[in-house]
Point group: D2
Chain length 503, copies 4
């Protein structure tokens, strides 16, 4: 089915336990701090309700029943390219962020699909039918879905079972019954959990044998008993103040600390239960999908960043200064390179025929994430450089709107002729939001840190190819060079001096 | 004299017109948004009242009357080194910022001292006695003093007199009487203006002849008729919440947009009045002093930044990870290089014997400012990289202190054994504040943009020395090489092949 | 036709005037300094003679006559992708460089094809039939072809006609007869001119009206009267020493200064003659094709660089050091990003239906070139960092091969067990060559400088899209937003506070 | 005594065994490949013979006997500052390199002085009298002295005694008699060993107990039996060609692989013999002195680099282009920051009163080395960017001087009016040399790699100070804060909300 906005919102009133700034939220659909999160979730349903977007967003199952394309298993390159287009469309709509109803969760769904198939094939388990049932239920409900991956981790130098202060720094099974399992622990940085219908939970890292109880994956309802959503400190003082916080007021995604205080999970929703050798694969496959998702929406976020820089240059009257033009060229390069790399990861996707899935090319998806995160601080440095010190000292919009002193602000914060001061004022506020600590943290650490991307690139790159290239150039003979370097011709007429060991 | 904290505070209640967030401030000494600014100003008086700091802070005039060292004219290297020490001591006290009562203003005072002496010498004007009288009055009152330099500028591609929307984008003289002048315009990014006793106003740039009315410098009282302080939007939602905003709650410096709505300045307080050729020198000499002041306090701000990174690494349990250690080494290098360069600018100071003043070496002071600003975004990138995504998603301290859910936060945000969660919690909040848009803007643009430093370095570097070095190395004969390259010996026994044109 | 290696070589003995290191070359096919250049040219013919490569390299014309694919006009995306594959295949064969017989010249041919069609269409000239005839002749001869673009330029701040020392810094027409034109000037950095059959000459920049005589494009034979090839100083002391100069001995491309001392060009080979408004387009279209060609071969050159770094890490025994692994990951990222961006430029090519040509997407092709050139010095820094100081101090291979002291070198330059010292020795020599000033200059300035790429990115980026993105995020209403930002939905249920001017 | 140039040269003919490019050198004073090395060594004596430099260079001992200042033990800040001035003076003379007779060796001498004093104090050994005698002999002979530190190392992941292929990758004692020891192994990158009178040998790293035989330090004569100097491949094809290789022809420092084939060392010249706990200190103290020496000469090398960039900009006619000016400002900043940091390391020197020695501040000396090495590739990138592609394609000076084609080169490589083409030609050749692989390797790895500097900065920085800074800012109470953060005042009038744990 395809739900309406109203159906989506109605479904959120289910007694889920959500806290923000020390206060328990009575109704997530009416609390001011949660309004943006609800809007972002609801946008997903608004788009599918709009005929202009339905060709992109909706597919039909074998019975002709429509469902949201994102709930489909990824089986072809075209699937990945279409999903990328959906992410970018919703991100354009939602000011740089993808709509929240089916974003991170879908990457979790595709991860559990692939890995449970592999487990069932290799171990003889039977998790994948549970996943298929779960997917069908989500299609039937047009579910909004989140994913919970990152454990709180405690001492980062210690594995889950070796933690010292307590053993709950990684989510784990504390009890098992014939009907299911009971889990304890906490997941961090969970986007949108208070405003979805379903939460998929997977391990955050590879495990060793004594970590087996920590090898657990499942799905859970947001209102499950014992599940507590503790939301991040609210970045925006006044949620309705989209003049002073234009971006922050629109993109808040309700990151939460998700506490599992002995939550029961019925066995039909359990997708990993102690098979520790597979724990890392859930995280790996999720990362493969999710980094490509991030690549998709970041290229849209970058459009806003580049546009803000270009307009600030224009509004300040410095668009023709050569060093400003150089910075703008750099910023366009930053945006377009992110876009091209992200697209390459979907276009040149990897395929696992055994499992009947495709996934984004790991080198390219990590290259894209690494590219935009590595350069993000350079980008915001350029942005502030162009905008000026006013980003730190701009008065409140209340001063601008004040009948007493508003005329001073309007007169003196004007710049280039023909540009209303209000436009410059708004753009400065946008710059301020783009350069927030919040986006810095999300850009560097969302979808994995720079170190994670470096590691992924290192382990998935074709080092044999590089080695053959260098050995050939150095004149080191190889028995079996990499295929890309096999069968190449020697220079036609010259016998090189060095007799031994030359190709 | 040396004032007390109480005297300082009492003096601020003088009817000055201050606005913040659309509201007129009745009493700057009691308004919550201004308390930190008042504290920072008052700290200057608290320090001079403390016997442990008096040797550093207080000097006596020829009559044995004590006055604040910062009010002394800079005449020797030791003066600059001592002033640097004062800035660093107050910056350590005030969480990275120098105390506000005599910081930027002093650099303005030293600028007008030097430039008016030069003008009087060259033009036969008699501004410098006014400056000396003014300095004596400040000593007598132990005045807190700010400086207003940066005009709002309008279209940055147009000079003051060429602006299109109106002619007030740069402060200028609109009327002159036998008793003084009337000025109109607005100055931007003015630190501490609502909490000082005096404001020195100087031009922000070099002028041309038709800009003559904009070539104006003077001193004004904060409560002058027609002077309106419009303060920057307040960064901290709750001024007393030093748990969630540890740095922001301590270092707010009340940047303001300072509007001059036809303010009268008596002639005894006017230090430049149309001599447009000298306008740029006020800005230049101010920059010379002020960049060195910034170098001094930034090296303290950096101590906090580096310490936060090192402690986050320790608290997270990653202090032994090689890539973390590399980043920490980089950060220590960042801090110590800033310190060494800033010190070099005072130690190797420039001297103008004609004017009886010294000032920081322009190449070194700009090199230091360029160094820390150029690398600041790399520094905060490293800091967030080490801290983790939690910088974006940490709950409020109200959650941590909640009797209902505080135990979850305490349990799950713990990390390394032996470190109280509260310490990690506080440190994450500190990181968040260090990475704010506010500090980014201040670091890049305070004391002039990167472009300003590049220009200063370019115009003050010894290019003749570099040219002689390269010509000698390339074998290009020079008639009169730079002294550093004069009289150097040739290689003792070899006659080089190239006959012509070789040294 | 498809020529043989022997036919190619025989054709080079035609009396062309070539100078190297002060000496006139009697026979380019036997001079030791030119052997590598001849080999690289000949390789093109060796490949087409090899059945394994013929499907890639050879196409047939309408009469069934085979010809080299590179001589075909680029009409579809597949054409560009296939040409990219050819460049990469020959680059793998030729140690990172593309084979010289049809590399730069082809990009020149495609430029004159497109621009003369546009001129003929717009101006009513009839240059394009000459180009078509010329192309057919090249197909019939299987010609090796070079291009000459960059003038020597004189004072870079002056346009061609404004030069002061003389008027020949840009190539220009000095005489015109009914049969043709006479040209004078010199072109710089001309790859392979002494070892090709044909040279295409186009302007290097946009012109103004008084530069009209400099607006000239044509084809010329390498042995034309008055044409003098002055080759770059030879980088390698001993051309046969591929042990000490493994890369330099293989990739020398005979860059020359090409002097036109009043050379006659018959009118059938003239493709631009004074139509100054079109001069810049030749350079622009050449750059579009050529940057994509460079992107293609640089990604292969990078494979060698990355492989050298990985093998040096292994040979030195430091492959497991975390900071080395980080650098290797960075290098793989560098190589793969260059590859992905270059491919995107061909895949997402631009099309000019009027002219029946396609060309690489300018943003992506410039983004790729900018990416690899901007980061090249970081790449070689990493490479040397991994290799060690031995890159500067390694003895000659003559020491290694010496019967007297070779055993010392072999013993003491050994490192990781199981790796022959010879392998490490060769690899260090390869590193040395990769880090040469030659490759630095080629990488930065070949196919245009970084400034050229920045300018290209700036003028070809979709700034309207960026502006719409930022305006929407800042709440600035637009009448006609960019299509990518048209028709987007608003948040479904919330009415934002700000009344005026909001979307 | 103070030797003459002739005495120095005469002394080199002592039968030392030196090899270069597979050939045994009969006489180091006449072999063309060694002439520059001899000149650089001789320059030291030429300078002391020149009255203009004697005040700087010469001191007298208690008997009034003159000796070279560099041979004096470093006991005061002024000693370090004077030595720095000597290094910079000789570096200006020798085209960026310090004169070779007493450069690296002196840093070795000061290292063994300090560490043997410490050993004698702690262990009761009696090495320091040997060192004093050795120093006196050097004073008496005005010796030229080199140091050998870096072992060839084999597999870098294995300690000396754990090497697999053989046990000689680190120099070690193979026999001990009552008269002395016999050593075997090889040292790498040894500057100037064929052209000095004495060589000091110290360990390259910290050792563990089973490495005891590798803990060995001593002095040896260059012509000792069994000592073989295998020199680096010669960078310059024609040693006399200072037109095409202006820098390379002047600064070649004869790096050698120094093989110890069972060399006997008399006990009076042995300064460490198995006391493995002290092995690392020799390397550490050497590094402290030597990084400061490097900082001194690199700031001179940078003067050449910056001058070359500025002159190329001028010669090319692009000195007024804003992006060029930005790069020049950056380069001046690069040079001056290196200088200021290096000077700070001497001015703020560390003192060990027990040992009666001073040494450069480790943080600053490493900060300087890290600064210039970290940014070197950026510097040469800017240099090539400014110079143009001509750096890769410039013809030989033989073409320029050719009576046949020289006029073409002169005409077409001209640029800005008034600048002789020869000047531009020479400057381009200088740029080429500055960007060589040789200087890249020396800059990155000479005086230790970037990793070594990071490690040094990390272990010598004042982390307790940083921690106190951050804790105070975060509101974490400390019992005993760092002295810099002790006794600081609290804000005067405000009671902060947070009760617990606040300072």
């Amino acid at each position: 089915m395809i739900k309406t906005v109203e159906q989506y919102i109605a479904h959120l009133k289910d007694g889920r336990e959500v806290w923000i700034e020390g206060e328990k939220v009575e109704d997530v659909t009416t609390h001011p701090h949660l309004r943006t999160a609800v809007e972002i979730g609801a946008m997903d349903y608004a788009i599918t309700a709009d005929p202009r977007f339905q060709d992109l967003m909706i597919v039909k199952d074998e019975k002709g029943e429509p469902y949201h394309f994102c709930l489909k298993s990824m089986e072809t390159r075209d699937d990945l390219m279409r999903k990328r287009k959906i992410v970018q469309t919703t991100a354009r709509t939602c000011f740089g962020l993808p709509a929240g109803a089916k974003f991170t969760g879908i990457d979790g769904l595709n991860s559990i699909t692939a890995v449970t198939r592999r487990m069932d094939k290799n171990l003889g388990t039977s998790y994948s039918p549970y996943v298929e049932d779960y997917r069908k239920e989500m299609m039937a409900n047009d579910a909004a879905v989140a994913v919970a991956v990152t454990d709180v981790k405690g001492d980062r130098s210690l594995r889950p079972s070796k933690q010292k202060q307590h053993k709950d720094f990684y989510l784990h099974i504390v009890e098992e019954t014939k009907d299911g399992i009971v889990v304890r622990g906490a997941k961090s940085h969970i986007s949108a959990s208070p405003t979805v219908d379903d939460i998929i939970v997977i391990p955050t890292r590879a495990m060793k044998e004594d970590d087996a109880p920590y090898a657990v994956a499942f799905a859970v309802k947001p209102n499950a008993k014992g599940l507590i959503h503790i939301m991040a400190e609210h970045e925006v003082a006044d949620d309705a103040n989209d003049l002073d916080s234009p971006l922050a007021a629109h993109i808040y995604t309700s990151e939460s600390l998700l506490v599992f205080d002995d939550v029961f999970i019925p066995k039909e929703r359990v997708f990993l239960k102690g098979e520790w050798k597979y724990a890392g694969q859930f995280a790996y496959m999720f990362a493969n999908y999710h980094r490509a998702s991030a690549d998709a929406y970041k290229s849209i976020e970058n459009e806003i960043l580049v546009g803000a820089a270009a307009l600030m240059a224009e509004y300040n009257g410095v668009a023709d200064a050569p060093h400003i033009q150089d910075k703008l060229a750099w910023l366009a390069w930053y945006a377009e390179t992110t876009d091209a790399l992200g697209r390459a990861s979907c276009f040149d996707c990897a395929e696992d025929k055994d499992l009947n899935v495709v996934f984004p090319d790991p080198v390219y998806s990590n290259a894209a994430k690494f590219f935009f995160a590595e350069h993000y601080h350079q980008a915001i440095k350029h942005l502030i450089d162009i905008t000026g010190g006013i980003v730190s000292t701009i008065p409140s919009s209340k001063d601008h709107l004040s009948p007493k002193i508003g005329h001073y602000v309007d007169k003196y914060l004007a710049a280039k002729e023909g540009i209303p001061t209000e436009h410059r004022f708004r753009m400065i506020k946008l710059v301020k939001d783009i350069c927030s600590y919040f986006l810095q943290g999300v850009t560097l650490h969302g979808e994995g840190s720079l170190a994670a991307q470096r590691m992924s690139i290192r382990v998935t790159s074709d080092w044999a190819k590089y080695a053959s290239a260098a050995k050939r150039a150095a004149g080191i003979r190889e028995q079996s060079p990499h295929p890309a370097y096999s069968g190449l011709l020697n220079y036609p007429t010259w016998t090189w001096r060095t007799k031994s060991n030359i190709i």
